[in-house]
Assembly symmetry: C2
Homo-oligomer: 462 residues x 2
């Protein structure tokens, strides 16, 4: 009963909700540029005030960088329902190149486009618009029922776009206050337009870098070409050995902890609306080049990789220099899935390289690069299926547990620091131009996003 | 009879000869820097005057760059003996880094060192000192006998250290004037201290460069890692395919035109005093890494190579960037021997690469890079054996027909433009620091160099 009243209230109040979002978007809360530190304070103040207006005990909390906003509100008087922690970030990316914007990035505009109405401004999608979908769902609930269906802690940071330096220390210092039953994060995209998505697995990362030294000094290829060990040949041979002919990584033990995608999840993915042709052709590819036997989507979401991100040595200028260089350099990253362990994987990769070095070749490894495991959400928890059903109801389309090829570090931090599982639900579209000029958020994403959260809260309360 | 008188004269006049060399070394005739254009003119004038003082009809000849010096002098009145063309260059390398010089590079000093007396200055070895060994031999001959034993054309250029842009056009325009029976060049080293050397084979060169393009744009390895074709992996795989496990080049047809070293020449090389251990260990190597079954010297002088001189793509800065770059680049050079043809070799190398490209990989080749065949001297001409015997007499040690791993383009140009075989005899030492700070020429090299040329002229006249 009350849910349908809440949804009606959301529909009625959409113009007011857009007005509130517009107010937040007007604040140029760019975190990476100290010139905007005052604007970050203003955005935090705005959120404190907005949360207080719906009865949340909210405060701005100082950090060595930009402030956090923390707010608490109780759920039903009988104490039923889970305690949820909702995370978002109020800081935004810089706007340069400003010349490519068609409007002032901090003068939000509602615009009609061929794909529907949008609100255009820096942060409209990432993450102010997404963050406000949840706040507005709470407001509607409060307006209609006088209370929220669950106890909720709000947790907004202002440094997400500048590496979140204060986040982990703040979480550690305030772990008791931030404890909850489940974290909700609204900072992700839908896998395809109209397809509600819960990101349930994110790949981890291992970073490494090595230098191979051959001759003690750069040599002249007339004098030493032939007898000299050429480190560029050496590094090429080693890089070539990382993969077999089927695209599988040939490092011994690389696939330990990798699991095949369960059949039911794979079926969801196969019908999730992901456009493989568009995905590949938009960057000039006619096929997926990863491990044979896996679709592009599975390669991206559920298979580990070993990629070369940088490779260099010798002469790079115009014309020819007949040098045999002393050194060759390689930067690599692995994307991790399942239970792959970054530390043991690092040892395996290094052993693979060192086992293949020629006599007289020396190797040094960068000792300053880290790694993090994959984040695999605990979708066997009943809240995940409940949320999936709620999203399916709102969008009249089966919601999908998706993967993500990249990382969202916050999900791992919640687990590591607070012991909290996280559920990532977002309504952004691939074409939102986050981090780029002319960022926008679809009004449909905003509207149905608010409705989605109302349904999810209702479902989780039960 | 007259030869021993000439040699005595050379011994007596060594101080005066060193004085004359000092005069030439004082002129900072750096060809690559326009600020020294006037000094190049002065060096050319100095040489014209010096040649005229021994009866040569010598002139400075303008070019679009630095001037040439051309001089002619007849041999014996009866017209006997061959007509020789002697080549050298009066320009020198820049002197930077000047701070590393212990003396003024253009204030020549005679110094005692643990390895004997040296004259220290820019150009002392390369090539003013070497050039003057021949001129001084002619002077001694003229002084003692009143004539030269052969007809001689002197040909000095002033752009050798800046790529000789005027050389081929000048040779073409003055081909009749520069015609002779044999060219003599004094711009090379002795294979080991005290071992007289005639460089009889120089490796040629093929230059090439390619770019492999994978994705249309740089990609994020979270979003595309796995499905994307990574051009750094692609280029590494292709470079790794250039050689087999024995160090042999695996490009089909690569060895066409390559000949094994004749047994008698190989015997000379084996006893030529080349110190393989020093050659390798001085640059940090414990073994020769070229084709299995060949010594380091044979690998350097008589075997072709395919070397990677530059390789790059992706991120080279500090830390990590999770990029899959759009492009990867490779610069390569081949050293050619025997009858290898640069043009057909280029096609073979390119075919090797293109045959191995993955679908979706595109390749572009630099179209501006050239090639030149190996220069193999015609040592079956009797002049070569005569000169070898003359050098052996002077140094009391069997002279050696050596190879060179690099190129001396002028030798090829004489053949190509003038149809002239060239004989390369030089007295420089590996430690002369040519092109480096504190360049020197051993006074023994200068003194015995002059005596060597006197003997060679005597031998060739017969």
């Amino acid at each position: 009963m009350s849910l349908s009243a809440v949804l009606s209230r959301i529909d009625d109040q959409l113009p007011a909700a857009l007005d509130r979002l517009t107010g937040l978007l007007r604040i140029p809360s760019i975190s990476t540029d100290p010139a905007y530190a005052g604007d970050c304070e203003a955005a935090a103040d705005w959120l404190v005030s907005d949360l207080q207006s719906l009865g949340v005990k909210a405060e701005k909390r100082a950090t060595p960088g930009r402030p956090m906003v923390v707010g608490h509100i109780d759920g039903p008087a009988d104490g039923s329902g889970p305690h949820l922690l909702f995370y978002g970030h109020y800081d935004v990316q810089p706007v340069d190149p400003l010349a490519l914007w068609h409007t002032d990035p901090f003068a939000p505009e509602l615009q009609d486009t061929p794909h529907g109405k949008v609100i255009r401004a820096r942060g409209a999608s990432d993450d102010k618009g997404q963050l406000m979908t949840f706040v507005e769902a709470c407001r509607a609930y409060k307006d209609v029922t006088g209370a929220l269906p669950c106890r909720i802690t709000f947790f907004f940071e202002g440094e997400e776009e500048s590496g979140s330096p204060s986040l982990i220390p703040f979480m550690r210092e305030n772990a008791a206050e931030l404890s909850a039953d489940l974290a909700l994060i609204c900072d992700t995209s839908m896998v395809a337009p109209g397809v509600p998505s819960i990101a349930s697995q994110l790949r981890g990362m291992l970073k490494d870098e090595f230098t191979i030294t051959g001759p003690r000094i750069d040599l002249h290829s007339g004098h030493y070409g032939g007898p000299a060990l050429n480190p560029l040949r050496e590094i090429s041979r080693i890089i070539a050995s990382f993969h077999d002919d089927t695209g599988r990584v040939a490092v011994e033990g690389f696939y330990e902890g990798v699991h095949e995608v369960p059949a039911d999840l794979l079926r969801q993915w196969e019908s999730c609306g992901f456009d493989e042709h568009e995905y590949l052709s938009s960057v000039g590819m006619t096929r997926a080049h990863g491990e044979a036997g896996y679709s592009a989507l599975v390669q991206q979401w559920a298979r580990p990789t070993l990629e070369i991100n940088g490779l260099w040595g010798g002469y790079q200028g115009a014309g020819t220099k007949t040098v045999i260089p002393s050194e060759a350099h390689c930067k690599l990253t692995c994307r991790l899935v399942g239970d792959m362990d970054p530390d043991s994987l690092r040892q395996k990769v290094r052993k693979h390289v060192e086992d293949r070095l020629s006599p007289d070749a020396k190797i040094t490894w960068n000792q300053d690069l880290d790694g993090s495991p994959a984040a695999v959400m605990n979708i066997s928890r009943p809240e995940f299926e409940a949320a999936r059903q709620a999203l399916s109801d709102e969008w009249a389309r089966e919601a999908v547990f998706t993967g993500m090829g990249g990382s969202i570090p916050i999900a791992g931090f919640f687990k590591e620091v607070l012991g909290l599982d996280a559920m990532l639900i977002g309504f952004a579209q691939e074409d939102d131009a986050i981090h780029s000029p002319n960022e926008k958020y679809n009004v449909q994403s905003f509207h149905k996003g608010i409705r989605s959260w109302a349904r999810v809260l209702d479902a989780l309360a039960k």
